[in-house]
């Protein structure tokens, strides 16, 4: 019996392994030509990250990042097809060729650069902070030690914060679940990016009246549009890079920030000045 089971398991593993090796990464030669031939550019975006990419009641995805995607699609003269992605699957989708580009609040980290081509200049910069009830009386990051902190799966800052300040992390699959847990008193703070916390607090919801963003934002992180590594220095990568420069220079990003009610980010102002001057 035991031997039979072992045999079955090993055959199953081998069979599954074989299936795995058949996966072929899509060749990324002339991406622009491919996109034009298809007539659509397929872009991985967030649909659960207000105001960057979120749903409207008709099911359409809207937001600041979607406006950027539309700019790129217009430039190429193609339609944009939006594929909702999560932090956990977006890079895999890009490598597999299921999407051509990632515009999904992706932090530009050293580790990710080995897998994804990060477009520079970065289009945004966020930082880490917490949302907490005023009664929690948090003053410093070190106050989080040993206390329950709600977070969302796959966020890059989870690891850094838990290593540095060793809170007891309570991880949820999505933002609404984490916010609800915070309101329900399951944790004393919600760890997320400061842009979302600011927009939550400024939303005018009385439920957040007694909440605050008590700490100094840490770990400023640049956000980047991702393309396949093979595209980064190719024509497609160059096109997106040029557009990114243009977005900063023309003030397009600042304008979109206002449109979507995001607090003015010093990074965008600085980049606008720097690139306009050059």
């Amino acid at each position: 019996m035991k031997r039979l089971l072992k045999l079955a398991l090993s055959t199953a593993v081998v069979a599954l392994g074989l299936a795995g090796t058949q996966a072929t990464p899509a060749a990324a030669q002339d991406t622009i030509a491919q996109i034009k031939q298809k007539g659509t550019i397929v872009v991985g975006v967030k649909n659960d990250y207000k105001p960057w990419g979120f749903l409207d009641p008709s099911g359409k995805i809207v937001g600041l990042e979607i406006d950027l995607v539309d700019d790129v699609a217009k430039k190429l003269g193609v339609k944009a097809e939006l594929v909702p992605v999560t932090a956990a699957n977006r890079m895999e989708f890009l490598q597999q060729g299921r999407i051509d580009m990632i515009v999904a609040t992706m932090g530009d980290t050293e580790a990710r650069r080995k897998v994804v081509g990060m477009i520079e200049p970065n289009y945004y910069a966020g930082a880490t902070n917490v949302l907490a009830p005023k009664s929690a009386n948090l003053k410093n990051w070190s106050d989080l030690k040993g206390r329950k902190v709600c977070a969302v799966q796959g966020a890059y800052y989870n690891r850094r914060v838990s290593e540095l300040y060793s809170p007891e992390m309570v991880v949820f699959p999505a933002v609404p679940d984490a916010l609800n847990a915070l309101q329900g008193g399951n944790c004393i703070a919600f760890l997320f990016d400061d842009t979302l916390i600011v927009s939550t607090l400024s939303g005018g919801d009385p439920k957040w009246a007694n909440y605050e963003m008590p700490l100094v934002s840490e770990d400023p992180q640049l956000w980047a549009i991702g393309v396949r590594l093979a595209d980064l220095n190719g024509p497609f990568g160059k096109l997106v890079k040029d557009m990114s420069v243009e977005w900063h220079k023309s003030g397009r990003l600042l304008e979109l920030e206002r449109k979507w009610g995001i607090k003015q980010s010093p990074y965008l102002i600085e980049m606008n000045k720097k690139l306009k001057g050059s």
Partner: protein, 288 residues
């Protein structure tokens, strides 16, 4: 012994049958019916009142909870239809494979029997979500058949992933159904010179199938509710859309009403299936 009421005054031996049985069966049915109807009403009321309670606490300046839920209901409804499509497809794939596997378990060939048994046990005793992960990450993104490249979209892999546990459960239903037919049927068929194939198709399966239907439907209802698992592997189903709606509205008081709406969708679909299953179960119950 007593005279029968049909006018005859001859003493008649009535068949051995407890006269109270049909009545009590009827009564049981009635009780079960009301109990479940009450359960149904209770759940609807609960869901509705959670919406209403939240609405009462709502600030006057913003659109009411009820309107907001209504506004998003069609979108979440389309997501729910997607879940249903996945459930139907998985059930079909799982049933086809499961019937083969179930028949394999009663094969006269020892190796076939052994392999079918192992496969059934393996997939029946694995967590559904884990099998789903295996299917999602081990099936290739596209396969080459000759010169053609067939891409395997995520929903297709999800169907396979969910079909695996369904397959194993259907296999057990098939095996159990066939075993529930008394051995005498096999023996009589053999004595009448039916071949094994003929016995199975013309004598055993027709009797077994009706006993398999209730558990099969039960499995389908369970599968339908389990389709929300696909939201975990990044497929846009009703669950994901509900979350998306919550993000877009950014109001925590909507949390319960929105999930109640999702629950209602599933309940409205699965509850009639459960009722029908119970009915069929009673009708096809083995009478001893």
């Amino acid at each position: 012994m007593k005279p029968v009421a049909n006018g005859s005054d001859l003493p008649v031996l009535l068949p051995i049958r407890l006269p109270a049985l049909p009545a009590s069966e009827f009564g049981d049915r009635l009780v079960a019916f009301f109990a479940s109807r009450r359960a149904f009403v209770a759940i609807v009321v609960l869901a509705a009142s959670s919406v209403a309670a939240a609405a009462a606490a709502d600030a006057p300046m913003r659109p009411g909870i009820f309107e907001t839920v209504l506004k998003w209901a069609p979108l979440i409804g389309t997501g729910f239809l997607f879940n249903l499509a996945i459930s139907v497809a998985s059930m079909m794939v799982g049933t086809l494979a499961g019937v083969l596997l179930g028949l394999g378990q009663i094969s006269l060939l020892r190796p076939v029997r052994a392999i079918s048994w192992v496969a059934t046990q393996f997939f029946r005793n694995s967590p559904w979500l884990v099998l789903l992960f295996f299917a999602m990450f081990l099936l290739p993104f596209e396969i080459r058949i000759g010169g053609f490249v067939v891409s395997l979209p995520a929903w297709f892999k999800a169907i396979i992933g969910l079909a695996l546990p369904v397959m194993a459960n259907v296999a057990e239903i098939v095996r159990g159904g066939i075993n529930s037919v008394p051995v005498g049927q096999w023996e009589s068929a053999e004595s009448l010179a039916f071949s094994r194939m003929q016995t199975l198709w013309r004598i055993i399966l027709p009797q077994a199938v009706k006993r398999m239907i209730p558990p099969w439907m039960n499995l389908y209802a369970i599968l339908t509710m389990a389709t929300t698992l696909i939201s975990v592997v990044g497929i846009q189903d009703a669950m994901t859309l509900t979350r998306g709606a919550l993000v877009a509205e950014a109001r925590t008081e909507l949390y319960l009403p929105f999930y109640s709406l999702l629950l209602l969708y599933f309940f409205a679909y699965c509850y009639p299936i459960a009722r029908l299953t119970q009915r069929l179960e009673r009708r096809y119950a083995v009478k001893l």
